[in-house]
């Protein structure tokens, strides 16, 4: 019986390895961080996210400048500055109905917001117009931010056919089809 159990676990692991792949590549062109994510595919669902992430305001800057999260993630917005800010985003991917004003809160306190809609929210401060950041909401759990060289790697993507989108500050989104079966490579 014990041996049977071990065999099932090994088999299940082997199956999982066989069904999950990796998408990697490079986002070239513009400098700065980009986010690459897998678009939703009809018939494929993923469990709702209960993750948390943090966006801080420190030294008249949003930190980090680009925050990539999964749809459904709750973001904690902090204020580490001795001055007040007013964080808001006028839209998410151009949809002004999804714009939201978090208001103003003093140093040491925070506010939270759950991002239920995918897209990119351009985070601004009403008081300090030079401040900006982006919260990029991926519709699936399969996303990654690029490193300093523009390289990215999305792991544990189930085998199948997908559309992969690259978001970059100041550029239009680029989407490309990809078939995942083991390691896949796609550049933007």
């Amino acid at each position: 019986m014990k041996l049977f159990g071990i065999a099932v676990i090994v088999l299940a692991g082997a199956c999982t390895m066989a069904q999950a792949g990796t998408i990697s590549g490079k986002v070239a062109g513009d400098s700065g961080k980009a986010v690459v994510y897998v678009e939703k595919t009809a018939g494929k669902t993923s469990p709702a996210s209960d993750k948390h992430a943090t966006m801080d305001q420190k030294g008249l800057r949003f930190v980090p400048h680009v925050l990539a999260i999964e749809q459904g993630t709750t973001v904690e917005f902090k204020n580490s500055d001795t001055v007040a800010h007013n964080a808001f985003w006028p839209s998410i991917s151009g949809n002004k109905k999804l714009g939201h004003n978090l208001g103003t809160w003093p140093q040491g306190q925070s506010k939270t917001f759950k991002f239920d809609n995918p897209g990119a929210a351009a985070l601004l401060c009403n008081v300090h117009p030079e401040m900006s950041a982006y919260v990029v909401v991926s519709p699936t759990p399969y996303f990654a931010a690029t490193d300093a060289s523009g390289n990215y790697k999305i792991e544990n993507v189930p085998d199948g056919k997908y559309t992969v989108t690259a978001w970059h500050e100041g550029s239009k989104n680029q989407s490309k089809p990809v078939t995942v079966g083991g390691d896949s490579k796609i550049d933007f």
């Binding site: 420190k58 030294g59 008249l60 500055d81 001795t82 001055v83 007040a84 800010h85 007013n86 808001f88 004003n101 208001g103 103003t104 401060c125 009403n126 008081v127 300090h128 117009p129 030079e130």
Partner: protein, 550 residues
């Protein structure tokens, strides 16, 4: 010019401004250090918002946690731990990482009323065209001109020591000499040595604009406040039954040399300023005030930078104001900025203040007495007294001041005690002086700024100056500014305007200066012997300004 043409002209001008502005992109002085927008401290540069006032009050730094905002860390002039070694070492300080230098440039375009040369014409001999006699200029219908190009640097050296220097490299057109504006060190929070509350006592030393209710040197308007430029020149006209021996060139428009104690905050609560400054009521330039025998600072005999003061007396200036922030929530009321629906904003507030300046104007007469060459002086005390208000509610800011000027008038008398008709015969000295009718003036302004959009501000201002001496003297006769002094005891000016922030550091400004009730055609009234005038005359002007800082 028809209305259609006027509209076309304004449209073309605005297009020119917008197009030319697009080539400029820059960052002002503090923006470099903190990498933040001008809008952090200015609502409509150089006008400060509440945070900007707090930044200035704190010594050109963030009121709290300044080091966390500096993107360029200051250079240490000694490790902080060196303080433990004092007095066996120099007290450590800092200097800004990069010299915090800013530059400001502006250009103007003016359209002047049709009868713009009438005033000059009436002051010249009959038959001579304008611009040919007496140096009176021909006033063109339209004129492009450069304003100032100034360099300024400001910041702090740590230890609550702030500095500011600004200098007009070029003013008033090509090849004109520039001039030093403010140049001072300010020692903030020195009250801590006396266990006084924080920010209750600071010392400023150098050259600075007096702590006026509303800054002229850093005004966001194109045209200056008329009352600030008012010097008190008594009725010198010999046709006046009772002349005034008052020739005081002092005005609030210029900077003063001296020192100042101040305290409080500009963004809420009390604020005060007590200044002791040089007197120079004769208006003589420092460079001309040199002696062959007595070295001035930095110089040997006959050289150096000259003496800035023309008297032993030092003038005194005091200002006290209190600002009531009107938010109901105490936390918001006491904060540097009030809490607003879209973030921190300027407080809804009412600021009330008063100011007083006391000095002594010196009239000197050189001549010969029995004992040889001599100088006889008349020391004429004078004061300027005024009150001011400043009300702010969201996008609306209404403010103004009223002030009076008063100079004691000491008329020269001969040995028999009879009044001597002015001007004195060169070389003749009075035996004494007799106090007579004082020379006075009054006036002020009220201005409203309304922020239509964050980048559009509408302005309406009313200036008024009342001085009978100005009318009697016909001051414009002696000055190349025919539009500055109309021929009436009271001169009013209405100035509607609008300003556009093309970028946070580029501003296009428009003003239409309306001067009603001015008159010309000057003649001597045979009944009274006084100069009088007739024929209404308006020297209205439309001025456009374009300025940028970087």
């Amino acid at each position: 010019m028809t209305l259609t043409n006027k509209v076309k002209l304004l449209a073309a001008l605005f297009s020119l401004i917008v197009i030319s502005s697009q080539f400029a992109s820059a960052i002002p002085a503090f923006s470099r250090q903190y990498q933040t927008s001008c809008a952090t401290c200015h609502s409509n540069f150089p006008k400060l918002n509440d945070f900007g006032k707090a930044f200035k009050d704190a010594g050109f730094k963030f009121p709290e946690g300044d080091e966390t905002f500096l993107k360029l860390p200051p250079v240490l002039l000694g490790a902080p731990a060196q303080k433990e070694q004092w007095p066996h070492t120099i007290w450590p300080g800092t200097i800004p990482n990069m010299p915090p230098i800013g530059l400001r440039m502006n250009n103007f375009f003016q359209v002047t009323g049709r009868r713009r040369n009438d005033y000059n014409t009436n002051l010249q001999p009959a038959g001579t065209p304008p611009g040919t006699v007496g140096g009176f200029p021909f006033i063109p219908r339209t004129d492009f001109s450069t304003g100032l190009f100034s360099i300024f640097t400001a910041g702090n050296f740590g230890s609550d020591i702030a500095f500011w220097v600004d200098d007009d490299i070029s003013v008033g057109g090509q090849n004109a000499a520039g001039g030093l504006g403010d140049a001072y060190l300010k020692f903030h929070n020195i009250g801590r040595f006396l266990r006084m509350p924080k920010d209750s006592l600071a010392l400023r030393v150098g050259r600075f604009e007096l702590d006026l209710p509303f800054s002229q040197a850093r005004s966001h308007n194109i045209s200056p406040y008329d009352i600030y430029s008012e010097a008190n020149i008594g009725a010198m006209n010999a046709l006046v039954p009772l002349q005034q021996n008052v020739n005081n060139s002092f005005s609030f428009a210029g900077a003063a040399n001296g020192l100042e104690f101040s305290g409080g905050h500009q963004y809420g609560g009390y604020h005060y300023s007590l200044a002791i400054v040089n007197q120079n009521t004769s208006g003589s330039a420092q460079g001309d005030n040199t002696s062959l025998f007595v070295p001035s600072p930095t110089g040997g005999a006959g050289g150096g930078i000259g003496f800035a003061s023309d008297s032993n007396f030092k003038d005194l200036y005091g200002r006290l104001s209190y600002r009531f922030n009107l938010e109901r929530d105490s936390a918001s009321r006491n904060a540097i900025q009030a809490a607003g629906p879209t973030g921190p904003q300027d407080h809804t507030s009412l600021n009330l203040g008063s100011f007083y300046f006391y000095g002594k104007s010196v009239q000197r007469f050189a001549g010969t007495l029995a004992g040889g060459p001599a100088v006889v002086s008349a020391h004429e005390p004078f004061y300027r007294l005024g009150g001011d208000f400043n009300f702010n509610h969201r996008a609306l800011n209404v403010y103004g001041l009223y002030m009076v000027g008063h100079d004691r008038n000491l008329l020269p008398i001969d040995s028999a005690g009879a009044l001597i008709v002015l001007p004195l015969t060169p070389g003749a000295l009075p035996a004494g002086f007799l106090s007579s009718r004082s020379a006075t003036f009054s006036g002020g302004f009220v201005q409203a700024d309304y922020r239509v959009l964050p980048w559009v501000v509408g302005i309406m201002r009313w200036d008024s100056v009342k001085s009978s001496a100005d009318r009697i003297n016909g001051l414009a006769v002696a000055e190349n500014t025919p539009f500055a002094v109309p021929f009436r005891a009271t001169r009013n000016r209405f100035t509607p305007g609008v300003q556009f922030l093309v970028h946070a550091n580029i501003k296009a400004s428009f003003e239409y200066q309306i001067r009603p009730e001015q008159t010309t055609t000057i003649f001597v009234d045979p009944a009274t012997g006084l100069l009088v005038s007739s024929s209404p005359f308006r020297t209205n002007t439309a001025t456009a300004g374009l300025e940028f800082v970087y």
